[in-house]
Every structure is written in C-alpha cells, then in structure tokens.
C-alpha cells in the first residue's frame, strides 16, 4: 500500500512511482496539508481557518498559501497576536456550530493559550454533560535548527497528551497529513494537530479529494523481527533511516509510527513488542513525562512479560534548546542516536 510507505527521499518516491502500476500522485507534506484545508473549506461551509499571518505571501510555510484568495477573507483570515483570546474566539465559534482551524506557526506560542485549551476546549464537552461539543482543530508546527533557540523550537505534545478531552495527532507522511487533518476537522472534539517543519518537503503519495485516516491508530512503517522502534513525527524518518542502515548488519527493525498520541494505540505497540521483545521509543519532545514515558508505562503495565531487555528512550534531553549549531548538534537526536539505542537493547540479552 503506497500510503503506508515512508519515502526517505524524492528519488525513492520517484522509483516507487515508476514501479507502481497505477500512477501515483506525489505531493509534499506542505501541499498535503494545504489540500486538506482546501478540501474541507470546499466541502463544509462551517469550516474556516484563522491564524496570525496565514494570508501573507509566506502562507504559513506554504500550508495556507492563497487559500484566502480562493475561499474569501471571511473563511481564511489573519488575526491579532493574542493567542489565548483568539483560542477562546475559536472555541466560541466551534460551540456555535462552526468548525474552526486555528493555525499557529510554532507550538511555542501555545503556552499562551493553555488556559483556553486546557480549561475550556478540553473540558467543555464533559463539564456540560455532553450537551455541547468543541469541534476545533489547533494546527501548530514544530521545527529544529538554525539557532531558533529555547523559545522557538519546542515540541510540546506531551502537555496536551496529559489533558483529558483533547486528541493529539502528529502525522509523518503526506498521505497521513492530509487524511488526519481531514479527520481532525471532521472530529467533534478539540484536536491538537502538530506538524514538523522538517517534514514539509517530504514527498509521498496523496490521493485527490476527500479521504480520512482514522485518529487513534498507529501504523507499522516497516516490519522487523528484532526490535521495535515506536516513533513520532520526524523521528519516524530517523527511525526508518536507522532501520535501513541496520538491515545491512542483519538487524530487523520494526518501525511503528504512532500518528496519534492521544488516544494512544496500545495494541499496535503491544503486538509489535510481542514479536520483537525489545523496544526503543523515539520522540521529538522532552523526556520527563513525555510520550516516551507513557509508552513505557503502558508496556510495564500491560506487556511486561514480552519485554526481553530494558527500554531505551531517544528524546530531547531535559534541557532547553541552545542556539549555537555546535550545541544544536549535540542536542538533537537523530538516526545515529536511534541506532545506538537499538544496539544497546539488542546487546542486552545477547550475552545472557
């Protein structure tokens, strides 16, 4: 299935396209996001898109580019820099029957709107006994590099995973980016949708028109017998790179792309672990109380007997992000870090 495939580079995709009997349409991740918005703006008049500067010539890294021209400034519009208030506005519109998509250039600006997200959007449906739901999508972007430093490089998904009532989605492939964004807009609940800037140029197969990818389901990107790598967002690519390199050494790496962090797809993790008995988790976020912690916890509660070796977590360290490129290099985990972790867990019971 071409949409379950992670193409590590454009050439790989082009090869796949050649081989494929039916013509595959290749789209970048950024185009996939934009297409999802366009499809939903077209299909459902309750959908609108708001965000700081989304109608400017940059168009949120291209993901909202010119949508205001096509759908009009009432449905795709710029807003003041006032994240908490504007999140409240989006919630208000949502409970009155609209389906807002609130776009943030960086997840670092979401702490500003934590009150409206945590105390309002997340709780509204429950607090009012299921009488009023909040069909809101909060899109935001994480990135890394070029000295963005501590305030412009966070990956704060865990904060949202902790809060009941939210859903948290982090797509990796263009196919999933579009399908999950459409599913998120269709969802009746507040969805925190987090994209990775380093994925924006990735190309993959993306069907035209409307389709959804189910929220709450992970996917096995690559099968393997020896070790499971549960990965998130950009770290799926790094895991795939690691897996490819380890193939040469005869190590079979199974890569599980979580896609949704909340609700978490426990099954897919346990099933893979049953097979491999070894687990590495690769996350774009910080370590303590991160999604890597939660996966560990689920395993120790529900799949401990399958575990043949200690788990290894590949995450950001519990350190703010530095600016200098030397420090950035030391800071960010990559396929090398994943390979080191894999080797550790594999060697653990080799000598037992």
């Amino acid at each position: 299935m071409p949409w379950t495939k992670v193409y590590l580079d454009k050439e790989e995709f082009e090869r796949a396209k050649e081989i494929a009997s039916k013509g595959l349409r290749g789209l970048t991740y950024r185009e996939a996001i934009r297409e999802a918005l366009a499809v939903m703006l077209e299909r459902d008049e309750r959908v609108f898109v708001m965000g700081e500067g989304i109608d400017d010539p940059g168009g949120t890294f291209g993901t909202t580019l010119d949508l205001h021209k096509r759908f009009g400034p009432h449905r795709v519009f710029d807003i003041p820099i006032a994240e908490n208030g504007m999140t409240g506005v989006a919630i208000g519109a949502a409970i009155a029957g609209m389906k807002p998509v609130f776009v943030h250039m960086r997840v670092d600006f979401l702490p500003m709107s934590m009150d409206q997200i945590i105390n309002h959007a997340a709780k509204w449906y429950y607090m009012f006994g299921g009488r009023v739901s909040v069909p809101l999508v909060v899109r935001s972007i994480i990135g890394r590099g070029w000295g963005s430093a501590a305030q412009h490089s966070q990956s704060l998904q865990a904060l949202f995973v902790h809060i009941p009532g939210l859903k948290v989605v982090m797509p990796t492939t263009p196919y999933d980016a579009k399908g999950l964004l459409i599913a998120s807009i269709e969802d009746k609940n507040p969805v925190i949708f987090i994209e990775h800037r380093w994925l924006f140029e990735q190309i993959g197969y993306v069907p035209e028109g409307f389709y959804t990818v189910p929220i709450g389901k992970g996917i096995v990107r690559k099968e393997g017998e020896d070790v499971t790598v549960v990965a998130v967002s950009f770290m799926v690519y790094e895991a795939m790179k690691a897996a490819r390199r380890l193939e040469g050494e005869g190590i079979g790496v199974e890569v599980v792309d979580l896609r949704t962090l909340k609700p978490l797809d426990r099954e897919i993790i346990f099933n893979s672990l049953k097979k491999t008995g070894r687990l590495v988790i690769a996350d774009t976020g910080h370590r303590m109380c991160g999604i890597s912690s939660e996966v560990c916890a689920e395993v120790t509660e529900g799949a401990l007997p399958f575990l043949r070796a200690p788990i290894r977590r590949v995450t950001l360290p519990d350190t703010p992000t530095p600016a200098s490129h030397v420090l950035e290099k030391a800071y960010y985990p990559d396929s090398d870090s994943i390979i080191r972790a894999i080797k550790e867990v594999i060697e653990y019971d080799k000598y037992r």
Binding site: N84, G88, A93, A96, M98, Q116, G129, G130
Partner: protein, 337 residues
C-alpha cells in the same frame, strides 16, 4: 442613596409597557427568591457544590436579558444563576444540577459553576475568571459568518476586566464589528479583594473607551437604566453595527462563595453593605411599579407565593432526582457522534 427612578417618572415611565415592567420585576424576583432558597437549603449539606450567589445584582441580568431572544447567546461566570434564570433556564433542572443529579442540566457533571442550556442560548459558563469573554466573541463571530442574526452577551465581573483576554476580546470584536455586548458587573470586589487593590481607577469604562465602540457606565441597581443601555447595545449588535460595552455598578450582598454573610469575617465594612442594601434593585423597583400602579402589593404577594411553590417543587425535584451511575464518570470525555 436609594436607587432613584423618580426622575424618570414624567417622561419615561409611561412609555414602558406594563408587561415589560412586570417582566423585569418578575425576573428579578425569581432570581432573588431562587438564591434565597439556596441559602435556606444549603446548610443541610446535600447540595454539594460551591454556590456563588447573585443577590444584589439582579437588575443587571434582568435588564440585559429582557432584550434578548431565546436564540441569542449569553456567557457567564462562576456567578451565573441570575443570568441563566433571566435567560429562561428551568428551576428544576438547575436545582437538579446543583444536587449533582443525572437530570440536571449537565447530568451532574458541572455543578453550580457550570451551567448549560443550549435551548435558551446558554452554551456553557466558565468559572475561570475572564474565560467566557472571548468565547462570547467567538459565538458572535459564528453569527456573523452564518448570518443567523443572533446577538452574544458576555457577562463578567470587575475582576475579569483585569485579565488580558478581556482586552484581546475587545480588540477583536471591534476589529470585526461583531454582534456582541460586553456587560461588566462591577461589584467592586473579586473574592474578598476590593477593586482599589487591583485597579488604579474603579471606573472600568475608562479603560475601554479607547477601543472605539459605545461605552457606558450605568447604575447597575436600576433595572431600567440597565434595560435602556442594553437595548441600545443589543439593537446595535443586531443591526450589524458592532459591539458595545456596559459597566454596571452594583454590589453583591452575600459572601463571595456560599450562602453566608461575609462582613462579620472582616471581608468588607458592614456600613458599605448597608448602604448598598438601601439601594436594593428589587425593593426599589417594587415600590416604583406599585406607586405607578403597574401592580398592587397583593399582586406582588401572589407572584411571590407562586414562585415559592415553584421553588419548593424545584428543590424537591432536585433532591429526589436520580443520581448518575458511577460508570458515567467515564462518559462524555469525547463526543463520539
């Protein structure tokens, strides 16, 4: 120092239809008696949720909401009983909610701070100070986008006017000319903090004037003054001419939370309360409508008796309503429709 209606007598009273005056009075009376009923039953300790009583501020809810249609939206706060009653909520379902019952407005999940009544335009109330204000702007945005002609009203306190979201909301509402009315009930306290410890100037309206929308400060204990200003603001919003701001100066009689008085605890001077009690929005308006022969004292007694029965019934209903089942704690986390 009592609320003065008389200056209006010659030229203004008679323009008001009798029904309007009676409706305003009836709404205030409902609120007052509802709250007094809570004071009565609360000590039994079977109403297990915090209650923030509205006694003393009735003219605001009544004077604003009489201008609204059923479909118009209101947003309120922890102190929401008055607004919900004025907007049309049902005593029984409110009490059932306060008693944590399955048939309450929120199936027992919200308690008194979280009211919802979509049929009457109440999509939820937030107990986070300032939390509801931008949400009201959001429903107003939806109304503009959907052209449904509804008006949104945000009720909030003087304390809420210190939160940044308030200003963010004003800015956006004016920018987009949204059909929203901001009603700030300045009762001079936030919990037990006097406004002088929180704001350099108790005239909140001054800090709003610069936004370029109609702004007014009214005697919040005078239901006709509130009514007049709210009418203008609602009509303006309905006509697509944008938001307005109304500061209603008023006073809460009971403690911040719970049914007790608070002056003995030293929360504020007894004399201050006494002064404001003289300006009772209900009593003064009662005298006014009686003196102007809208209704007789007997008629008023009759109203009170009817409401007393209704309230006893609501309490009985709330107390005897079924409890939620324990398993329901896990329901309604996500909307699965």
């Amino acid at each position: 120092m009592s609320v003065r209606y008389d200056y209006r007598e010659d030229d203004r009273v008679f323009p008001y239809p009798r029904e309007l005056l009676l409706r305003l009075y009836h709404t205030m009376l409902k609120i007052r008696m509802f709250e007094e009923k809570i004071i009565e039953v609360y000590p039994v300790q079977d109403m297990r949720c915090p209650v923030h009583l509205y006694i003393g501020q009735e003219a605001v809810a009544a004077g604003v909401c009489v201008n609204l249609n059923k479909e118009d939206y209101i947003f309120s706060t922890h102190r929401n009983h008055g607004h919900c009653i004025a907007k049309g909520s049902d005593f029984r379902l409110m009490m059932a909610e306060f008693y944590g019952k399955k048939t309450g407005y929120c199936k027992g999940k919200g308690g008194s701070m979280h009211m919802v009544d979509p049929e009457n335009g109440i999509l939820g109330t937030s107990a986070i100070v300032g939390g509801g204000i931008p949400i009201a702007v959001g429903t107003a945005l939806a109304s503009t986008l959907m052209r449904d002609g509804r008006v949104s009203v945000a009720f909030f306190g003087d304390g809420a006017s210190e939160e940044g979201t308030f200003f963010e909301s004003l800015n956006f509402a004016v920018l987009k000319r949204l059909p929203v009315v901001f009603v700030c009930e300045n009762n001079f306290y936030a919990t037990n903090s006097p406004i002088s410890q929180r704001q350099p100037d108790p005239d909140i309206v001054k800090r709003v004037e610069g936004y370029g929308m109609p702004c007014v400060q009214v005697d919040g204990n005078n239901v006709l003054s509130v009514y007049e200003e709210a009418k203008k603001a609602v009509e303006r919003a309905r006509a697509g001419r944008g938001p307005s701001f109304i500061e209603c100066r008023t006073y809460r009689w009971r403690g911040h939370v719970g049914p007790e008085e608070d002056f003995e605890k030293g929360c504020r001077p007894k004399e201050e309360l006494d002064e404001w009690m003289k300006r009772c929005p209900l009593k003064n308006f009662e005298d006014f409508i009686v003196n102007n022969r809208c209704i007789t004292r007997e008629g008023i007694e009759k109203m009170k008796e009817e409401l007393a029965v209704e309230l006893d019934d609501a309490i009985a209903y709330g107390r005897s309503a079924p409890e939620p089942r324990e398993e329901e704690v896990f329901d309604d986390v996500y909307c699965e429709e």
